[in-house]
Symmetry: C2
Subunit: 451 residues, 2 copies
């Protein structure tokens, strides 16, 4: 509630007339405007004259406070950095520079007695990421820091729109599970009444269960959990996964084609929204992938340096960058599908494929790289119970641990495949950021559970 000392009885009611900064138009010059937000860059330029920037989520506007106009100029000392306030005044053409400003007639503090000792980003000081994350709710008052999260939201909502238009069903799969879904390592375990439960490392099993249930195209955007004790720029112990699965495919190429359509839809949408947004967004151009080049893993091997193929036949992160660099130079595309990964690098439920020329066994699988970073892993899944059982054996896994998985396919299943995509990695790459945590609202690592 606005500070009693600064307002009449119904000042709060004025919020009904509030306009967000992106809705203030030149045609409203000289009219009354009511805005609300938090303030920054307070400049007292002389006795009885003060400028400041008011921010809302959608932009900012300069406020001019003058003792000849502002009725409660005496309360100005209460307006400190990051105060939330409401201002009533006249919208005018900006004097000092292009744009507009408000000559404030009256202002209202929306939170009284807030601390003005902002612990981060003071005086242009470049606060380190860890401290920024400690005070994430202040860190995000910087619109540049909020941008990745806004793009993440746009990405997911545009994806939902694509799925909606293409007859997908959104599913909500359990995160408390009775079996370790991805094989057991790096999994969180918790007491669950008289037994133990696990936190799902992926919705893989449940997406396939949906397909076995008669759903044909499903997607889910939700949390996944990995008890990963390491710290890297690409991993968290909890992150958002964007997963889809489709039935009646011919091979993993149908999944890649669907991802290409989906990403083109989403990227175009995100780009259009960015272009529409004022100020901060303007510098962001999000180029849609168009036709995404594809390269077989055994061809990728020929492009990368010796040390950039790991022991199991996967590409190292440096190897992925080498492939991406080649593709960028050759096809001018930031994206590339690498497909037909060796058996040794893929989980048991990926369908086996044709061997490489040198006889190496492969899977009907793929990764999608975006500016040199893997953003998607996908595959056609093995849907025959006998072959699934033999794959498990061949990979040296214990069949008795995976009986529940095979059970799903006992009563038939259509051919199907799908993918998991990391939307935070996409945003990281979109904005050329160093760390996926910049695109994560409240990141989690072995040491961080707050905020």
């Amino acid at each position: 509630m606005p500070n009693d000392k600064m307002q009449g009885e119904n000042a709060f009611e004025l919020l009904k007339l509030r306009k967000t900064t992106n809705k203030l138009l030149e045609q409203d010059f000289e009219n009354e405007a009511i805005v609300a937000g938090y303030i920054d860059n307070i400049r007292e330029v002389g006795k009885g004259l003060c400028f400041m920037d008011l921010y809302d989520q959608y932009g900012k506007i300069q406020l001019t406070l003058k003792d000849s106009i502002s009725e409660n100029m005496k309360d100005i000392s209460k307006l400190t950095r990051y105060s939330f306030m409401m201002a009533v005044g006249k919208l005018v053409k900006g004097k000092a520079k292009e744009g507009m400003e408000i000559e404030v007639k009256k202002f209202y503090l929306l939170t009284e007695k807030a601390s003005d000792q902002i612990p981060i980003g003071l005086d242009g000081q470049n606060t380190g990421l860890e401290k920024r994350l400690d005070y994430r709710w202040l860190d995000l008052r910087d619109p540049d820091h909020r941008l990745p999260l806004e793009l993440l939201s746009l990405f997911v909502m545009s994806g939902s729109e694509y799925f909606y238009k293409n007859d997908y069903t959104e599913i909500f799969t359990p995160k408390l599970v009775g079996y370790p879904t991805e094989g057991g390592s790096e999994i969180f375990i918790l007491p669950y009444f008289n037994r133990e439960a696990y936190l799902a490392q992926s919705p893989q099993f449940y997406k396939q269960m949906a397909i076995c249930s008669g759903f044909e195209k499903v997607f889910e955007v939700g949390p996944v959990f990995r008890a990963n004790p390491s710290f890297t720029t690409r991993h968290d112990t909890e992150y958002t996964s964007f997963d889809m699965e489709i039935a009646y495919i011919r091979s993993h190429h149908d999944v890649m084609d669907e991802e290409e359509r989906m990403l083109n839809y989403i990227f175009k949408k995100v780009d259009a929204e960015c272009a529409n947004k004022p100020k901060e967004y303007r510098n962001t151009r999000v180029e849609a992938p168009g036709k995404i080049p594809k390269i077989k893993m055994e061809e990728a091997y020929e492009l990368v340096s010796k040390g950039n193929v790991s022991g199991d036949g996967d590409l190292t992160p440096d190897g992925e960058r080498e492939v991406a660099k080649y593709i960028k130079e050759t096809y001018e595309n930031d994206f590339v599908f690498v497909y037909d990964y060796p058996l040794t690098t893929r989980p048991f439920y990926h369908m086996f494929g044709e061997p490489m020329k040198n006889g190496t066994e492969t899977t009907k699988s793929f990764d999608l790289l975006y500016r040199g970073v893997e953003i998607t892993t996908g595959a056609q899944r093995e849907h025959n119970q006998d072959r699934l059982a033999s794959n498990i054996e061949k990979k040296g896994l214990k069949k008795e641990h995976l009986t529940y998985y095979i059970e799903l396919f006992r009563y038939g299943a259509p051919p199907h495949g799908g993918l998991g995509l990391s939307p935070t990695r996409v945003v990281k790459q979109m904005l050329n950021m160093q760390n996926v945590r910049e695109a994560t609202f409240a990141p989690r690592d072995p040491k961080r559970l707050f905020p």
Copy 2:
């Protein structure tokens, strides 16, 4: 891959030409059609003549197999209940009844050696819910059982569309948290590296953190966890919560008004989609709420029987049904907002309101009832750190456990409020179902972690 014995080399490629049953049109009569799905109601009506229904997610169609037409009639014994298969044949006008059918020229089993011993729903046997849930992926092959999950998906995707059009940001908040967010009871605890973590009981803290971060309208659809040892028709240990939070509100009435707009948008959308869908959907009419009646809690007390107000001043489930019955009779509306709940029934972060006539302290809070069941709890939140601290004290909670919560408001916050809605309860009420688990893909209770 189709059974080798039943197909030529490239039979699998035919899936490219597959049409879903909802895309088969009268104008295609006498043309070749390729369909795929699972089969049921196999009727061998004589030697060399067999009918069956082929289901895909979008409907069903009758297949007619005749030895004069079907090339691989000898393989018919492999087609058992719930086999996934692909059929190539001629689309013709249905003979026995209205509609259409396919005279099958050739068919392909899509999963060889699947078991034909379907453990549930055999011979019209009405399998109980628990056994149905044990084999959920078979249970859902019944389109009637899939319907609630399809409506759930429609509800959430239409909600996402509403939010997209109204400048909301979708947020992804952590489920692994360092503090028990809702006060500590019925919370799952797990070992987290060298300490303990909790599973979030609601995204409440994080929605408010987003508001403090400068976001103005946020939403999230995600899992929440309650270590609730009881079994009821309305509770699970894990369920999907649909949450939103908005800033710069005048009171909880602004939140109710926003929910009214949102639900009208969503219900109209769901209804339109249902009307468009073939077959199973046709019987579903989803009436939009229109202008939702509102009633103060102290007025609700006067409508309900003595025993239907609990000790703390809340309505019992029977009390909620009494209020709903009165509203339905008086206003012909399935929805009603009950607002201004007593302090004793609400958490510390609900803003205190005006006392009732008899002096009972209240909160700026509300519930939304749909056909007599609570589907939403909402409120304006207290955003002043000092009043929040005094509320905590007044409610007899330990301030030192909630320091982290107060910390969020130390640096200011705009007035804000929001709500949590249970989309599975909405679907349960939409379809007049007995149990919320019918609208849950893979329900969780103290005894159930699989599938």
